[in-house]
Assembly symmetry: D2
């Protein structure tokens, strides 16, 4: 174990700077039917790291963001929305080379059957350029969150690694949210290569069991043990590894050898997606407040339960009081 | 004048086969504001030749279509919609190489100020392949309508020229609806080259004054006279040339030397787009019914007026009776 | 027959402006073996329309050229070579976007077995842009020669059609040398579409039987008759159609109904390629001198025989006196 | 210093497996003039890791190779050449998707002024795919050499990282020859990111001062000290860092704190390139023989001197005896 304990450098302006996808969700209003029969859609800001940014802002953290948006009505909507939430938009570049905001049309066939129709050709979020990444922005943040999908294409991939190099240089905590989306990756080998590289540099790694196995496909393809997985990354820079098992709940490992398990809150589902970003936001909030890993995981789990019962993945992000109220009612 | 009079070959199954764009319109429900503030959108089938197909079907013509749709919920919605309208969908190919339906988000800031936010990367409609075009489908139609935007990219461009070669061989009337959209063309020279090629082969050419000038930019860049324009194309294969002048109305020229002018119907605008496809459908309906060019143009103008007063460009296409009622009320 | 007789407009500066490929041939010095065993290569200017330009210049015609070369040693070599041959290089653009000269490494396994290893990615010659084509250059020429390969890709394809539009407008004789090369075309349908378009606008069409069949694949796929072929193009703008049958010789058809056949000169082959460009040059020279079609074809055939007995396709192009001496020795 | 001493695992079949570029050099025969005036070229196998493979084979080492060649005469020539040199070609894939061998036409204007005209579009060597990399090939080698240019493009980039993951897993010594070529990289940031990643995983790093500065451009942009550079990489996995200073000679640093300087051998230059690959081969040969770093660097320097005095970069690679004879004559 070469890892040192996790420390958020305190005297910095931003609590967290997520980096990566910011897009538009268009959620079906007429639900419990196939999308062919949907008549109207409601527009929200979406994208995993954007949702986490909004989640953290609702939890009253100081939030920045590194990303690109399109030079059109949807791009302006997203920036305005962030600005209204109190998120710093100084490092969100307006792309002037004709890219578009990614779109996610969500289809909710039933509480457990959903699918997403993606528009991801020529998307602004994957145009983040290494030159967009400012060293002093990152040196002024307690943590940097890299969303795995941002590693799937150049130049966004290189921009993320540049950001991580700066974070490493300035002891900014690196959080890697694996967030695997099969579209846009060319091969399983590519996934394994770049996920491993990011994981080696990260202090906190969050993902599902399946995502960790994709990441280890080259170096340890047979492994199915969470403990083996956690130790592997503790041998690099990780201090906390969180592995999610869907309905079974999730497990947090820390580099001092502790293990924490948490079960999902029982809740009436509206849809089967959107919980993960609420989970990450609330969990990271807890860590930043100095809570124990266990308490932080519980808080994350509660927030996730609230999200899967609501129509959006961003607009519905709860405040601290709302999560606490929800937990108290149980 | 080498042109022969316009004759629709009678003993054929299809009255018209439009070829080209079929997409999804997402029209803002909260109108008279910028799209940044739109909250919900309603989904319609859209795209100029698709609108014309629907328009002709509502006017009880037998309609086919040559095009490509995506292999997803939106592609299936479009095919189902056509099928329900009685349009033959046997020559609409489902693209299996990951393309998407084009999207048009419409913003209605005021009755005279509109804009459209397009998603046209990797669109299914521009993937129509020369191999998709069946000679016997075209030889079994009275007319083929080529939408100019379908000429903007390969392989759709070549597919259109293949269709026109077959139409020429079998005396299927070729209708060229210039339908210029600046996105997706590489240069003004390219526009002029391919528009000219299509126009040389066409029997009926419909476009705005600006569109005709784009088409003649290489061979006659100074010309601003409708009459000179019409004569130029009568020297090739054209029998009818319709030139639109917006609020000033439009002019129809025939190769026998006649000229017909028609004014727009006064109407309370909801939006400033969507009229052109209704105009084309109703005008062509008239010609096919054997009406005079003049009466056909009037009928087209009436249908156009009905469309700009309604929320969609396809769903609102009127029946013959509805157009007649509208005209009688004036 | 709507065709008028072929007339080269006399009071013009240039006899001919070929348009299209200009590249580098690297011919194996150690011949009669596979290229794997070749040790050294000799460098020549190559490419069908470039060879024809050199051929016409050697025959003391005034020659221009429309094309693009790379901004490197090979591009400069080609321009210098043309300049030294007396060919006007004012319309040869130096491409500044990183393209390369096409390369053709020739392998001569035996006098009848040859192959060519092509380097044609990102080639300068297919970057000719519509904007490179100057109307007054073409209006100042008696003839424009379009090489079919230049139609295989944008923007060169559109540039050729722009040049043909200008030629049509100014009565510059259009010569279409089909020159089919399978690489770089996407489909047989594409070949048929663009070859047909070019042929419809041309006064003189030269190609092999196979090339004419590729061109007619859509409109008349069953036809194998030279006479039917010739008549088809006489119905458009053609005045002379030359169809080549390899060792069987070639046939020239004229729109007044005459037919001329010519046999190849017997000669000791060094290689099995390079004859066609010499043939075209010398044949066109004859026509421009006012010779009969028959005499012109003979002259072409003699020049072709001289080329296949020599090491290069450009450097070996003969003068009028050399062709005459060669013919007199038979 | 966390580094352990450098150890080549002994019981393995291959001494070294270079990975990356294999191409064709076409060297001007008529030298001391601009290439415009060159008439003939001689063909050799080329490309930095290919040259090193040949160099090591001439020094009687067991050599493998991971790469791709074109499916044509040049690809076959290269494989045959390797095979004749005794290099294992079982992991050289013949690319069947139409790529070409890279070409390097060398221009030797004077002994100190050279330039290279590259053909690198769609090259076979950058098509090495992660799936081409076999774990048991690498586990059966004492060392893997990664050539920096192979990191410049996908999928070759990912294939290299996969190879390095396998090498790390099996304790195969990783040698990183920075070999920076400005063409084919998109930005300085990209260079810095991927060079750093490769260097962090490497046991031996060889490059010029300029190359090390490109690599450190993000993390330590001001540094100009060789010692600071060497220490930085010793903090990761490096055991030996060799920094070249052109005519000033080169310096070898070892992780135990030793420093060795070596001067170039004085020699009559024929050309100003080709020395680096000979240097690397002979230096690595010495290390594998168990020689001191100092003696190995001298041996490398001698071999480099021999190469810059000869016409090719591969064919002229010396045997051990030839290097020794050369050194003894001084």
């Amino acid at each position: 174990m070469k890892s040192k304990p996790l420390l958020f450098p305190q005297a910095r302006h931003y609590d967290i700077i997520p980096m990566g996808r910011i897009g538009i969700d268009l959620n079906a209003n007429e639900i419990n039917r196939p999308m062919e029969e949907t008549e109207t859609f409601t527009k929200y800001v979406g994208g995993s790291p954007a949702n986490i940014a909004i989640g953290m802002a609702r939890l009253s953290k100081k939030v920045g963001f590194i990303g690109r948006v399109s030079d059109d009505q949807f791009g302006r909507f997203a920036k305005n929305y962030f600005n209204n939430e109190g998120i710093d938009i100084s490092n969100i570049i307006v792309d002037n080379e004709g890219s578009s905001m990614g779109l996610a049309f969500t289809e909710i066939k039933s509480p457990t059957e959903s699918s997403i129709l993606m528009y991801r050709d020529n998307v602004a979020d994957l145009k983040i350029d290494p030159k967009d990444v400012k060293e002093d922005y990152i040196s002024n943040a307690k943590s940097l969150l890299i969303s795995g999908t941002a590693l799937s294409k150049s130049p966004s991939r290189e921009a993320c690694f540049v950001a991580m190099e700066y974070a490493e240089k300035h002891n900014t905590v690196i959080i890697f949210d694996i967030d695997y989306r099969p579209y846009s990756w060319n091969s399983k080998e590519e996934v394994a290569v770049y996920y491993s590289m990011a994981a080696k540099m990260s202090d906190i790694i969050i993902g599902s069991r399946e995502e960790f196995e994709l990441m280890e496909a080259l170096i340890d393809p047979e492994n199915t043990s969470d403990e083996v997985t956690a130790k592997k990354w503790f041998n690099h820079n990780a201090k906390i590894v969180v592995i999610k098992h869907g309905k079974e709940g999730s497990v947090g490992y820390t580099s001092d050898g502790s293990i924490f398990k948490v079960k999902p809150f029982p809740v009436k589902l509206l849809k089967s997606f959107g919980g993960g970003d609420a989970y990450a936001s609330a969990f990271l909030y807890g860590l930043m407040e100095g809570w124990s890993v266990e308490k932080s995981l519980e808080f994350g789990s509660a927030s996730a339960a609230m999200l899967v019962a609501s129509h959006s993945c961003s607009e519905a992000m709860p405040t601290v009081k709302e999560v606490e109220d929800f937990m108290n009612k149980r």
